[in-house]
Subunit: 164 residues, 2 copies
DNA sequence: TTGCACTAATTGCTTATGCAACTAGTTCGG
DNA sequence: CCGAACTAGTTGCATAAGCAATTAGTGCAA
């Protein structure tokens, strides 16, 4: 490492991994998205939102929490929730303790759509991703990519800790 | 595995890996894209195209090849090339052996932009991705995700082989 | 209690992307 | 040589996503 680099340039191995991540994501997501559309089903982003709600207690989440989980900007989430609400898959509910806020609440129809989408989505995950990944590799991927996904949050916490 | 599953549902380990892939990609790409925009630089897709051209012999590639490399639809690529051509970073050139076709050719200014973007992009890759990945993990990621990225092509070849 | 800095969500605007349809050109069988 | 099937690239249309600005509400500090 030269003095001027400050570790700011990735080495070839990590760079190759980065390019592989971009290509794998684009190929797999693109293919799954196409299959879902062909089958007349909702797009992946809809599934992500409905799934996040289904996982949450009482099937409800504040909009900003939802934005974090599906990794979408606030404005993007507002409009995505608009579309889902228009389709009857969820509804907004005012937050009693904070009058600015709203919950997104999964509706019965939303749950039904979630169940209906899963088989097709699962087939896509297997056909375009899981098929190429061994059990051990899956564990490794989860560990590494989990750290990458947490990056933002972690960095913020680190900075806060350094400051405070 | 039940008889009706036909391996069409991913096991928990691979499913977790899939979700980690989605989240890691969204977080890292989003952060890098934001940093580039803040620095007044071109978006990632521009870099990808210019880079693909820079790698190709004579800095030129047929448009459909370019579409494959950057994993974009044909129409998407047409418009992306429009924007890059408008910015003077590349130009179209008619293909002498196929009058339907065109090359995208990297311009001198395109090369310059590519060089100018790299430091910022590299910093982003390190800060939001490489930082969380060890050398061995990088190798494993490249291998696994490389297979995933190749998926499409491979599947088509397999089918062709099975048919022929 | 009043004012100020902050957060939650939405909206206007701009840009990016895909599908389907189209034009143009190639290729191959008969 | 001719037409049918295919490929290259572009365009119309619809949709998705982000930033910046806006509205509304919270909470802390003097």
């Amino acid at each position: 490492m030269s003095a001027s680099d400050h570790e700011s340039v990735p080495d070839p191995a990590r760079l190759a991994a980065w390019r592989a991540l971009l290509n794998a994501h684009a190929a797999a997501v693109g293919a799954i998205e196409r299959d879902l559309a062909t089958a007349g089903l909702a797009p992946l982003t809809w599934y992500d939102v409905l799934f996040a709600l289904a996982e949450a207690p009482e099937g409800r989440l504040r909009l900003h929490e939802l934005a974090d989980r599906v990794v979408l900007s606030r404005s993007g989430l507002t409009r995505l929730v608009d579309r889902l609400e228009g389709a009857g898959l969820l509804f907004r509910e005012a937050c009693p303790t904070d009058r600015r806020g709203a919950y997104a609440v999964l509706s019965a129809e939303g749950k039904a759509i979630l169940r209906r989408m899963w088989p097709a989505y699962a087939r896509g995950i297997v056909a375009y991703f899981a098929r190429y990944v061994s059990e051990e590799e899956a564990g490794a991927l989860t560990a590494v990519l989990g750290r990458v996904a947490m990056g933002d949050t972690e960095a913020l916490r680190d900075e806060a800790a350094a400051r405070g």
